[in-house]
């Protein structure tokens, strides 16, 4: 399958999925689906942010949820104090980006690499978790917002209609907003990858030494993609804050682990894959928990086996494996019909 055909098909699939999520699902009127949908979409945005920085930038952040949780908390605190939720959301995303930039500067200018980078990001996320987790006392109140410790902030404000601070959005609208944000973030990622900056980022992932020798300051590009990833994770955090409410679980070990699992299961090096992985794994987890009178199995057991299996047997993840399978079938079908074989090196014109 040629790249152009493949990306056209990809776009068609994404458009169809977005259409289904934004038009068909709300028609059904099933609130549960929509509320779960907005939670899943918020997590999917988080998965997308890791897909971008890990799959394209080669930066494995073990603590991506740090930005997710930070933005959620900033949104809740700013929203409770300012009353203007749109402004609060902006501040939240900006803080997540700024924090990512700061952390990125600390790591990339220190030439911290690979595993060590993973450890530092995870540790930073756990520090935030530990810190927020112990703010149950009333001395931890910022303006009108008690941080709430383990409980989180159940009074996290819900977005209001633009310009109408008294009109709180309905769950259906929050759902539309979350899915919309997911689609927009996806498109932003796509666009960024296609720019000169995005191509340089991919080149740096492929071979940082070579990129450096060609005049690219790799620290700068890594910082750029890491900051963008932080901002996108922040968007997810704000969406999550609106779908549920903010609590320290947003940046604990499990959340950080889950994001990585979604990306791996969905397929590293793709953007849509991790989103699919996220929806699949979350649905699985919710479904396992609603099995009445279970005990025959345990959600952890299933998740663990799925993850291990994906890494050991399905090396590339769901989406690339499925695409590969589809391509092979396609190739076989074409060969039977006597068409020329696919997969030959193609001329430069095919490339953007």
């Amino acid at each position: 399958m040629t790249v152009s055909l493949r990306s056209a098909l990809g776009f068609a699939a994404i458009a169809a999925a977005a259409f289904y999520a934004l038009v068909v699902v709300p028609q059904g009127g099933d609130l549960t689906t929509m509320i779960n949908g907005s939670i899943y979409a918020s997590y999917a945005i988080l998965a997308l942010s890791l897909a971008l920085i890990w799959g394209y930038g080669g930066v494995l952040s073990f603590g991506q949820a740090a930005f997710f949780g930070l933005a959620g908390y900033v949104y809740a605190v700013a929203g409770l104090n300012l009353g203007d939720t749109a402004l609060a959301a902006l501040i939240a995303v900006a803080s997540a980006a700024a924090f990512a930039a700061l952390l990125g500067y600390f790591m990339f200018w220190g030439r911290v690499s690979d595993v060590y980078l993973g450890v530092i990001t995870l540790t930073v996320s756990l520090i935030l978790y530990r810190f927020i987790n112990q703010t149950a006392g009333e001395e931890w109140t910022i303006g009108a917002a008690p941080l709430g410790g383990f409980n989180g902030i159940p009074s996290t404000p819900i977005m209001t209609a633009l310009g109408k601070p008294d009109e709180t959005l309905m769950p259906e609208q929050i759902y539309a907003l979350s899915v919309g944000a997911l689609v927009v973030c996806y498109l932003i990622c796509r666009l960024v990858i296609a720019t000169r900056f995005g191509r340089a980022v991919v080149a740096i992932r492929e071979n940082p030494v070579r990129a450096e020798l060609l005049g690219y300051d790799t620290r700068f590009y890594k910082l750029g993609i890491f900051t963008l990833g932080g901002a996108i994770a922040g968007v997810g955090g704000v969406a999550f804050a609106n779908s549920v409410f903010v609590s320290p679980t947003m940046f604990n070990l499990q959340t950080n682990g889950q994001v990585i699992i979604w990306v791996i299961v969905g397929g590293l090096g793709t953007l849509a894959g991790p989103v699919i992985g996220c929806f699949a794994m979350l649905s699985l987890s919710t479904w396992l928990g609603s099995l009445d009178g279970g005990g025959w199995t345990d959600p952890n057991l299933v998740m663990g086996v799925v993850l291990t299996f994906c890494v050991v047997a399905l090396r590339k993840g769901l989406l690339p494996t499925a695409l590969g399978l589809g391509e092979r079938l396609f190739a076989v079908a074409r060969e039977r019909m006597g068409a020329p074989k696919l997969g030959e090196p193609r001329a430069a014109e095919d490339r953007p």
Binding site: G28, T32, I35
Partner: protein, 414 residues
């Protein structure tokens, strides 16, 4: 989250009904018109020690009601959800119970965080909600009924009792680090001061802490007269072990506001728990005919090895029966009618004695006991019948302000 447009919501619900979205779980022959109810408790994860006996009692109460012909001639269909000790799943399942299962009432929530995660969703979708675990008090929400004991009901008597029994002036508080622990620690300080004592120090521990070594050394240095444990969850259990291993058990006596709520007496050895005193609205060793009969039925249903019935579990049993009484009285399971019926001061006499709903606070008046743990069992030392929820009453009056929806943090004057 208060400004939801109710009309739009009703419209949505009606649209759902019009599209013929049948309840997801249909059981039995007469299930078509069964009353759907939801139970949302942790059956797995770190907090399941509290959830499991509550699920048992919920199940037992529903089965007994159905055996007696159901409520208003309709069978009750119970669906249990397991949020796996994950607060986010509480919100999801509460919504699912309300909008998909179309539950008429919801029972559940274990630790306070889970209650707060469910409360807004259940109010939004107009599903009355019973919360049965003891907690810090202050919830003021017409959609919610809090069945468990609150600090004014227990600690007010328990703190002076413990100080007198242990001849103690200074108390060292070890508390779980979330709002229950924080607020309870304040109540302890208040009651200690009122009785001429003092809290030497209050340390707070996140629920996953299991190393208490440095803390025990700190206690040794502070030399308090007694310990008050407000520790919660499986990880905190190791405190009792480390306390004994450090040779402190016979040096400083201990009282607790939480020991046993998760059947800790079965998870620790007698040498670790003997002598700890606790105060709840229910002990499975209460020698009343209602309770003895109840325990017999419980064991017959779940086996002799089942989790012992805790206060939260017994109150869940009471909650289901109170709701059934209210539905009978109202002649309907419709939310507003049921709540109105409950607000008439409905009471139920069951294993935990007589519990009466207080219309102003949506809490209940109940009997409180103080007991000593010995050899894995409780020995009641003292009882205080019919304690009123005075703490919540100080800040909350739903008869005057029926639209109140928040949890007051009661300003504890020391």
């Amino acid at each position: 989250m208060t400004a939801f447009n109710r009309r739009t919501l009703l419209k949505t619900a009606a649209a759902g009904a019009a599209l013929g979205l049948a309840p997801a779980y249909i059981r039995g022959a007469s299930a078509a018109d069964a009353i759907q109810i939801a139970g949302i408790h942790d059956a797995s994860g770190g907090i399941d020690i509290y959830g499991r006996p509550m699920i048992n009692c919920l199940t037992l109460a529903v089965e007994e009601l159905n055996a007696r012909g159901g409520v208003l001639g309709r069978e009750i269909a119970l669906k249990n959800y397991d949020p796996q000790s994950n607060m986010q799943l509480y919100t999801q399942y509460a919504t699912e119970a309300a909008t998909k299962q179309k539950a008429a009432v919801a029972f559940g929530g274990v630790i306070s965080a889970s209650r707060e995660a469910m409360r807004p969703a259940l109010r939004r979708y107009r599903v009355p909600y019973f919360y049965s675990l003891l907690y810090e008090g202050g919830v003021c929400d017409r959609n919610v009924f809090c069945m468990g004991s609150t600090p004014a009901q227990t600690l007010q008597k328990f703190t002076p009792f413990a100080m007198k029994r242990f001849n103690a002036k200074t108390i060292y508080v070890l508390a779980a680090d979330y709002n229950y622990g924080q607020i309870t620690a304040k109540w302890i300080k208040k009651f200690a001061t009122e009785n001429g004592g003092d809290v030497a120090q209050a340390d707070f521990f996140p629920l996953d802490v299991n190393d208490f070594g440095p803390t025990i050394r700190k206690i040794q240095a502070a030399k308090p007269d007694m310990i008050m444990s407000v520790l919660v969850g499986a990880a905190h259990n190791s405190f009792y072990r480390q306390w004994v291993a450090s040779g402190m058990k016979d040096k400083i006596p201990m009282a607790s506001t939480t020991f046993g709520i998760g059947n800790e007496q079965a998870l620790t050895s007698p040498e670790e728990h003997d002598g700890i005193i606790v105060s709840y609205a229910y002990f499975d060793g209460i020698q009343t005919p209602e309770n003895l009969d109840f325990i017999t039925r419980y064991k017959a249903r779940f086996g002799a090895k089942a989790d012992a019935v805790t206060e939260g579990a017994a109150m869940t049993y009471h909650a289901v029966n109170l709701w059934a009484e209210a539905a009978k009285k109202a002649g309907s399971v419709e939310r507003d009618k049921v709540i109105a019926a409950l607000e008439t001061g409905l009471s139920f006499t069951g294993p935990a004695g007589k519990t009466t709903i207080d219309a102003a606070t949506h809490h209940d008046t109940l009997d409180v006991y103080i007991a000593e743990v010995k050899g894995g069992a409780y020995h009641v030392l003292e009882s205080f019948p019919q304690q009123t929820p005075a703490d919540t009453a100080a800040v909350c009056d739903l008869t005057k302000n029926p639209n109140e929806t928040k949890q007051f943090v009661i300003d504890v004057k020391v």
